[in-house]
């Protein structure tokens, strides 16, 4: 009897110490790692981001160097040009690498604008409540009424289409979702006891909002952010495809597809590679976002 107890004791201690050692962040990482597809997505994304960052080192050719020895026709993939060349004889692989920089930059910056604006607006609305809250939320409702891609198109025809405007317009049409999300979370968090405690201790308005409330809604913000990047990349590619996005000679995955229609039957690689890269990036981001949702927001697990 005592033997049994003694032999069981260390095991119990071991188990309890294991539990004590796990911080919420470690639990989250463990949950993320269980989501195999998300880990794969993260792996592919890491490669793509490294390729984008080191494009100048990795690109075998100057992405803008024109070579008309093929007579102004695209040439198919070879060992020298793994993705072939476009109609101006530019190395398509090098263009795709530089295009990765542009597409990723647009994705991340537009996400930053959308999430930053949305978090700020949502947090202020949710925390202040009352008139400020209803004014802000009515404005959000109005902005949501615009079909967003349509709004982007209208503004883009009025502005000069360049990379900065693309980032700004995609970012500024994407803050409404995050704002609503953050407001809803703030509304629930601000009723918790630790916020009451902080208020009782005389914490200032800003301190309570940014020190106690915002960190606690961060989980859902991170999930929203991870899903905002791929949607911004898709929006950029659509805009550039229509000629309203990033302008050549600067390469983006979207504007590489702009002339794809002309070469559809004759040069499949012109259509195939940029779109494949967009699809790969967007899929990976969506997988990572799904994994993050499971990891950071266990309530939605089902």
């Amino acid at each position: 009897m005592t033997d049994e107890l003694e032999s069981a004791l260390p095991r119990v201690q071991q188990v309890s110490s294991m539990h004590r050692a796990k911080m919420p962040s470690q639990l989250a990482i463990a949950r993320f790692m269980r989501h195999k597809v998300a880990v794969w997505g993260l792996f592919i994304l890491t490669i793509l981001i490294i390729a984008a960052v080191f494009a100048p080192v990795l690109a075998p050719y100057d992405p803008a160097a024109i070579d008309l020895s093929a007579g102004g026709e695209p040439t198919p993939p070879t060992f020298d040009h793994p993705f072939g060349t476009d109609n101006l004889g530019r190395d398509y692989f090098s263009r795709a690498l530089y295009g990765a920089r542009v597409s990723m930059a647009v994705g991340f910056v537009a996400m930053g604008i959308a999430i930053g604006t949305g978090t700020l607006i949502g947090a202020v609305a949710g925390y202040s409540g009352g008139l400020v809250d209803s004014l802000i939320m009515r404005f959000t409702d109005i902005m949501i009424c615009f079909p967003s891609f349509f709004l982007i198109l209208i503004v883009q025809t009025l502005l000069k289409p360049n990379i900065l405007n693309v980032m700004a317009v995609i970012g500024l049409t994407g803050w409404m979702g995050p704002a609503r999300l953050v407001r809803a979370e703030v509304l629930s968090v601000r009723e918790r006891d630790y916020v009451l405690a902080a208020t009782a201790l005389g914490g200032s308005w800003a301190r309570i909002l940014f020190r106690h409330i915002v960190p606690n809604v961060l989980g859902s913000v991170i999930v929203a952010a991870s899903l905002r990047v791929p949607s911004a990349i898709l929006a950029e590619s659509g805009l550039s495809f229509l000629g309203l996005g990033v302008q050549p000679p600067q390469a983006s995955w979207g504007n590489m597809l702009q002339e794809a229609r002309i070469y559809m039957g004759s040069a499949w690689w012109i259509v195939f590679f940029p779109g494949l890269l967009i699809a790969l990036t967007v899929t990976s981001f969506n997988f990572v976002g799904d994994g993050l949702r499971d990891a950071l927001d266990p309530q939605t697990l089902c």
Binding site: V37, I144, L257, M264, G275
Partner: protein, 325 residues
């Protein structure tokens, strides 16, 4: 319920007014005006200042912006959407034709999407975390991550350019070659295959995940456990108790998709040269056809808000537990 609907409808009015003021302001402050668009179109570039002033007055462009807006609003409320600056046809007439074309595509697409997505979603929930579930889940993620225009281009590349099995774009052959009605139908149907396939591939994922989630939720409800405890056969528990309830959120989702059904997809319609609402929207923006842009924007906003309202109403109608007061 009636009170709730009336209250929601009343709330929509200021919302739409705000949207219309904002869009009107964007057009007004944009460089260039409708007169410039018109004269550019006709290659008229030597209007005398008097002629220009006269035309401006005729078109009401010399009035202050709020007067122009109120005039536009008054016409809109009387059902007069104005005339296209490009084709000179009534905007209402153009939109009527385009909506029909888009609906043909989107309704067929929706029916096929649902016919595939709902059974797969139910099966995924039934065999949660199985190899089947995981495969379907990965496929759906890839499906809605594809750039729509790229998927369209690839399908055209394979089936229209490479193999010449199907037409690459347009809605119908330029002239009827087939003699019989049946032949004409088959001939026209070929034009639908690629655009419909594109939208089905892109949209399946969303519906499937939605149905899977709602089914999983329903399967964990108490009434399902009770039904099993009573000893009912699993098939009856599954279909009659769980699935019927899991369909409710799917039905409400139909309300949310109302606007996309009518507005179509800008990119898919552009790639397939499909004369629908999406393409009309893009064309009117590129041509600065202000009356058309305003009409399309307003229509989309109206559909968006009424779709949301419809979703809420459907939810209450389909599920008696939901009460709005």
């Amino acid at each position: 319920m009636t009170k709730y609907i009336i209250r929601r409808l009343l709330a929509i009015i200021p919302l739409l007014l705000a949207v219309s003021i904002l869009s009107f302001a964007v057009m007004y402050f944009a460089p260039g005006d409708p007169l410039m668009t018109m004269t550019d179109r006709r290659g008229v570039d030597d209007l005398s200042p008097e002629e220009e002033a006269y035309l401006r007055h005729q078109m009401g462009l010399d009035a202050p912006v709020y007067v122009q807006y109120l005039r536009w609003l008054g016409n809109m409320l009387r059902g007069n959407m104005g005339y296209s600056l490009i084709s000179r046809r009534p905007v209402a007439q153009i939109i009527g034709e385009r909506i029909l074309n888009t609906l043909r595509l989107s309704v067929i697409g929706l029916v096929i999407t649902l016919a595939i997505a709902l059974p797969l979603g139910v099966l995924s929930a039934r065999y949660q975390n199985s190899l089947f579930d995981q495969t379907v889940s990965v496929m759906t993620f890839i499906g809605f991550s594809l750039p729509s225009f790229w998927l369209a281009l690839m399908l055209i590349n394979i089936f229209a350019v490479g193999q010449r099995w199907l037409p690459a774009g347009g809605m119908a052959p330029l002239q009827d070659i087939a003699e019989t009605a049946e032949g004409r139908f088959l001939q026209t149907a070929r034009y639908y295959i690629l655009p419909v396939a594109t939208s089905v591939i892109l949209n399946i994922g969303g519906w499937l995940r939605y149905q899977r989630a709602s089914m999983l939720e329903a399967l964990h409800e108490d009434y399902v456990r009770t039904a099993r405890a009573k000893g009912l056969p699993e098939s009856i528990v599954f279909f009659r108790h769980a699935w019927r309830n899991a369909l409710l959120p799917v039905i409400t989702w139909l309300g949310f998709s109302l606007s996309s059904l009518v507005n179509g997809s800008f990119l898919i319609e552009t790639v397939f040269a499909w004369p629908g609402m999406g393409r009309l929207g893009i064309q009117s923006i590129f041509q600065r056809d202000y009356p058309v842009i305003m009409a399309v924007t307003m229509l989309s906003s109206i559909l968006l808000v009424s779709g949301n309202l419809l979703a809420d109403i459907l939810y209450a109608v389909a599920d008696p537990r939901i009460r709005y007061d």
